[in-house]
Amino acid sequence: MRNRKLAVAALSAGIATTLAACGAGSSSHVVEGTTAPVAATSSTTAPPAGSPTTTAPVVAPPSSTASTTLNANTLNQVAAELGTLDTNLNTADSDLSNPQGDS
């Protein structure tokens, strides 16, 4: 059980670090405000291509409580990104399905 939790914690930490790294450079981005708790280990995860490089954020050490919370939070952050994407896509779709004019 402990080993499994450690594996999940490691995965969660990576997810959090990745999201935070991707969000770096966008001061108003939602991810930054929800970046993992307290520093303990630094990450070597690289941001995606095209993203501004910055100091990698750090994440909390794995603990069963923290990892469970972090895990949910980080996936929620991905879900939020997808939700924003949906909203923007719907707007673009509306432009084309119901144009506001013929010019």
Binding site: R4, P48, A49, L75, S97, S103
Partner: protein, 257 residues
């Protein structure tokens, strides 16, 4: 909101009529014309059918409609500028600058420059000299609007793809760790394989889309409507791929718990 849209559609139809020709028809005829299509049919061509609304008798009303159409475009362009300036989205620096320049340095001042001309017009000829460039030079609704929104979507999707790509090594490591500890990771590995496939598919769908969309110009209308439709399809496909990838990530998380 719907009311606003309908008004804009009506204004657009009326404006097209003003632009088109000189024969006299009742103003109401234009409002009876088809409203905004609910399909994705291409907007009218650069040579709209004759449906004029400006005659000496109707000049005042026509002038008001052109002024309203110009004001509506200013509102729309300001909204687009706000979206392009919004750093909460994931527009790349270059794409943001391109949109900001097109909207705020070309379109908006161009439309605003037409506003006093519309106010000062005293003949239908003069009014058409304002209405025509308003439509054909700037294409606020059928080029600038979808261009801005689709570019935002393309860059948003690219960003989310990057999030997933960065997760891949982490997930692989987590699965390996769990496996080394004796856990059956078959399901997690299967979900992970699918996640990678979905992300790659999304990347393929969105590759180059922002550049293609940004390359469209008002002068390319209505032909570039098909470009926008194709981009929308690609974005939808990419979004669906990312949704599936997210479901895979959730499965992996559950399986490793």
């Amino acid at each position: 909101m719907r009311h606003t849209i309908q008004r804009r559609v009506a204004a657009g139809v009326v404006t097209a009529g003003i632009v088109a020709g000189t024969a006299a028809v009742a103003p109401g005829a234009a409002f009876a014309a088809p409203a905004a299509t609910t399909t994705s049919a291409a907007p009218s061509s650069s040579t709209p059918p004759s449906n004029p609304l400006c005659t000496p008798a109707t000049f005042s009303a026509a002038q008001q409609r052109v002024e309203a159409a110009l004001s509506g475009r200013v509102v729309q362009l300001n909204a687009l500028a706000a979206e392009a300036n919004n750093t909460a989205n994931h527009l790349t620096t270059a794409d943001r600058q391109t949109l900001q320049n097109d909207i705020s340095a070309v379109e908006l001042p161009g439309i605003q420059a037409l506003q006093p001309q519309a106010q000062q017009a005293t003949t239908c000829v003069q009014l058409r000299q304002v209405a025509r460039p308003m439509v054909f030079n700037y294409r606020v609704y059928v080029v600038m609007t979808p261009q801005t929104h689709l570019t935002i979507v393309a860059d948003d999707e690219t960003y989310v793809e990057g999030v997933f790509v960065n997760l891949e090594s982490t997930i692989a490591q987590a699965i390996q760790t769990a496996q080394s500890q004796g856990k059956d990771t078959t399901a997690a590995q299967s979900a992970f394989d699918d996640l990678k496939t979905q992300v790659a598919s999304a990347q393929s769908a969105t590759a180059g889309q922002a550049a293609t969309v940004l390359a469209q110009t008002p002068q390319g209308a209505p032909g570039n409507w098909q470009v926008f439709l194709a981009a929308r399809t690609a974005m939808l496909n990419g979004r669906n791929d990312l949704r599936t990838a997210f479901a895979d990530a959730q499965h992996i998380r559950t399986d490793l718990q």
